[in-house]
């Protein structure tokens, strides 16, 4: 009999935590560290990677912009980077570094204090850096950079530590969707010593690679 009120009190306390709290109490800044896995089916990507996926790391800062309906609209700036290496025909090695900056609009709709679905639309710029070296005797290396526009549409879920009116809180985010990118066009021109007088050199167009595809992300967030 004496345990019954204690159980009720515990249930009430938990219920109070799980119930939606007042939105105004939540912090308006957010820092995120994420890892993403992209699935890129494009043909050109085969020259840069032995498989179809690309793992990248991401740092992001977000700020609440305004209330919109039952949710809130946030904006986020992020920097994403990833690298791949591949061997080609037993004679060449490619090293690719991909970096992008993205500005995103995120609509967050809290349904529970610890569970917040979100939808993201982002636009950005990507820079690809490709190095191709021949592995045989007297091998040479070529290097080129290319830029492209990027876009992404992602849906996700945020999981927060259930705390009442925290000044700082921590959470986990999982997102999935599609990323789009205009092709990165690379040329092949050997690295030469600029100090030397050389015969005019013309490289070759390697072609272009589009890195559009599906994307899954997971990360940790800090709100303050």
């Amino acid at each position: 009999m004496r345990t019954c009120p204690r159980s009720i009190l515990t249930a009430l306390a938990l219920g109070a935590l799980l119930l939606p709290g007042p939105l105004a109490a939540r912090p308006k800044n957010q820092l995120s560290v994420r890892v993403s896995q992209s699935f890129i089916p494009g043909a050109g990507y085969d020259a840069l990677s032995a498989n179809d996926h690309l793992a990248q790391g991401e740092l992001a800062y977000g700020r609440e912009l305004l209330e919109l309906g039952r949710g809130r609209l946030w904006v986020e700036a992020s920097w994403q980077a990833g690298a791949k290496s591949a061997s080609l025909f037993g004679s060449f090695q490619t090293h690719t570094l991909l970096q992008s900056v993205t500005a995103s609009a995120i609509y967050r709709l809290p349904i529970l204090p610890w569970l917040v679905p979100r939808a993201r639309v982002g636009l950005g710029v990507a820079i690809g850096s490709l190095e191709l070296s021949s592995t045989g005797a007297g091998g040479s290396a070529s290097h080129d950079r290319a830029a492209a526009f990027t876009g992404q549409v992602l849906l996700g879920l945020e999981f927060w530590i259930p705390r009442r009116r925290p000044r700082v809180n921590f959470g986990l985010v999982v997102e999935g969707g599609a990323s789009f990118q205009t092709p990165l066009a690379f040329a092949l021109e050997p690295e030469v010593d600029d100090e030397l007088r050389r015969i005019p050199l013309a490289g070759s167009e390697l072609g272009s690679v589009g890195l559009s595809g599906g994307q899954l992300r997971i990360g940790v967030m800090m709100e303050f």
Binding site: Q37, G44, N51, E189, I199, P200, L201, I218
Partner: protein, 530 residues
């Protein structure tokens, strides 16, 4: 619990997303053959990806341009036609082992290069998989595909004596190519030689175009005008003989075929006599064999015409020359006094001079034989020139007025031999390293010998009019040089493809251009399939 599941599910998806592997072909080494000269272009064929890369050196001040096209994969043999207007590529085909692979048929691709564009696939003749060698007639109209007998054939059975007769002027069809098996005495083809049109009976009978399939111990005649007729096999040794005789050289006079064979002590002469066929598959000619003996073992033989007679000149193992009348087999010996095994007749059309030397035992001397009146003059027509360095190779210049003497020496790289007049002067040309590759460039700037030495980043130019030398510093080590008219291409042998294009002899470095990476051009745009 819900939170844990929500985290594990995307993690699982993240792992699953990485399952798409690229085509296995990306890990297969490139099999690049070239550069080859055809249609005024330099061509490279990559059998791994099934691609041909064409470099047009640019005409009239135009910049060099590169283009690439698709080909069947697994090229086993690549050669231009004798006229240099087409490129012929034999491919082994490909079996589809995995579900995502597509099979390819073995066959012969005929490509027509065109300036500034990728070579056009004119025709494709399906062939049996084991045929990996090709012989083409001088006029480029007919070809015979045969097997090299190389190990590694995939099938349970492989017939090394199967040949395919191709009429390259006609599209592929049920009768083109014609598949045949040449009758064998236990050997397999080692080569195919085409005759010029031979009147049978000579001199006014119907012309026959013949293919001679060479095999160890015998020859096989095929009438290309009637490919369904039976072949005629002619043994070079008696059945009971243990001699090992391998045909090495075939020459054609109007009515006779002359054969020099390694291991034989004499030449063979095969006279083609007319006969009336008794059945549709029988031939209307019959070869009869004899040996026009000079009593010497010939190591090289050349055919020329003088005083309205066909004459054979042989360089013999006994260190002398033999002059044989092709019609009567009468012969005369011309002592030389040193080993000789190679003859070079010049000019190519209606030769008047034979250069005689030894490739097997290089010596610092060249023998000259004036062919005009040789049957009467014999030793009077022979002169000898001593050189400072041993002669490894003699190559006549395109105009036939000079010959390049190649020495395998780091100091005196080559000599230029004057063939005009009686004195035959020899001008030594010094260098730093043995000549690795050379060609002759000719155009408005004159005629030049162009050459490179491996390990020396320079292009050497020798003006054949005045023997003035010039040098062009290159930016990387060369592997091969070739001339397309007056344009000079230096291939550096880089796996990604790198050539230096020199617009003409005497051009400055600023007028030249290095083209790099062309064998990987379009790499990101093309999907490779297994």
């Amino acid at each position: 619990m819900l939170a844990r599941r929500s985290v594990l599910l995307p993690l699982g998806l993240l792992l699953a997303a990485g399952c798409g592997e690229r085509a296995r072909l990306w890990g297969v080494p490139l099999a690049v053959q070239g550069p080859l000269k055809a249609g005024g272009q330099a061509l490279w064929v990559d059998g791994t990806r099934g691609a041909v890369f064409a470099l047009s050196p640019g005409e009239g001040g135009a910049a060099p341009s590169l283009a690439s096209g698709a080909l069947p994969r697994n090229a086993s043999f690549v050669a231009p036609t004798p006229a240099g207007d087409l490129l012929l590529v034999l491919s082994r085909g490909k079996e589809a082992i995995y579900r995502d692979q597509s099979a390819e048929e073995p066959g012969l691709s005929v490509l027509r290069p065109s300036a500034g564009a990728a070579p056009e696939l004119v025709r494709f003749y399906p062939l049996a998989a084991g045929l990996d060698r090709l012989a083409v007639a001088g006029d480029g109209k007919q070809a015979v595909a045969y097997s090299s007998g190389a190990p590694g054939q995939a099938g349970v059975f492989h017939n090394p004596n199967e040949v395919a007769l191709l009429d390259l002027t006609q599209p592929p069809g049920p009768e083109n190519p014609v598949r045949r098996t040449v009758r064998s005495f236990g050997s397999a083809p080692i080569g195919v030689v085409f005759s010029p049109p031979m009147p049978i009976p000579a001199p006014s009978g119907p012309a026959h175009s013949l293919a001679l399939v060479l095999a160890k111990g015998y020859l096989t005649f095929l009438d290309l005008g009637h490919p369904s007729r039976r072949e005629i096999t002619v043994p070079l040794v008696k059945p009971e003989s243990s001699e090992s005789v391998t045909p090495a050289q075939v020459l054609f006079s109007r009515e006779t075929v002359f054969v020099r064979a390694d291991g034989a002590s004499d030449l063979y002469s095969l006279t083609l006599a007319a006969r009336t066929p008794q059945a549709p598959d029988e031939n209307d000619f019959l070869p009869s064999i004899n040996q026009p003996s000079s009593g010497r073992t010939p190591l090289d033989v050349a055919l020329f015409r003088d005083q309205k007679r066909d004459l054979l000149l042989t360089a013999n193992a006994s260190g002398d020359l033999a002059l044989i009348d092709a019609a009567t087999s009468q012969f005369s010996l011309i002592p030389v006094g040193s080993p000789v095994d190679t003859l070079l007749l010049t000019p190519r059309e209606e030769p008047t001079l034979a250069l005689v030397y030894s490739k097997r035992s290089p010596a610092p001397r060249i023998h000259f034989v004036e062919l005009k009146g040789l049957a009467d003059g014999l030793t009077k027509n022979l002169t000898t020139r001593k050189l400072d360095q041993a002669v490894h190779q003699l190559v006549a210049t395109p105009d036939g007025k000079q010959a390049l003497v190649v020495h395998n020496d780091a100091r005196t790289v080559v000599s230029i031999l004057d063939l005009v007049g009686e004195h035959h002067t020899v001008s030594p040309i010094h260098g730093q390293l043995p000549l690795g590759s050379f060609d002759f460039a000719s155009g408005a700037a004159g005629s030049y010998l162009v050459g490179v030495s491996a390990g020396l980043s320079r292009l050497g130019l020798l003006d054949l009019a005045n023997l003035h030398t010039a040098d062009l510093r290159l930016d990387s080590s060369p592997s091969r040089v070739l001339a397309l008219g007056d344009r000079i291409l230096v291939d550096h042998g880089a796996p990604e493809g790198r050539v230096t294009v020199v617009p003409r002899a005497g051009a400055s470095r600023d007028e030249c251009q290095v083209l790099s990476g062309f064998l990987l051009a379009g790499l990101l745009d093309r999907e490779l399939e297994d």
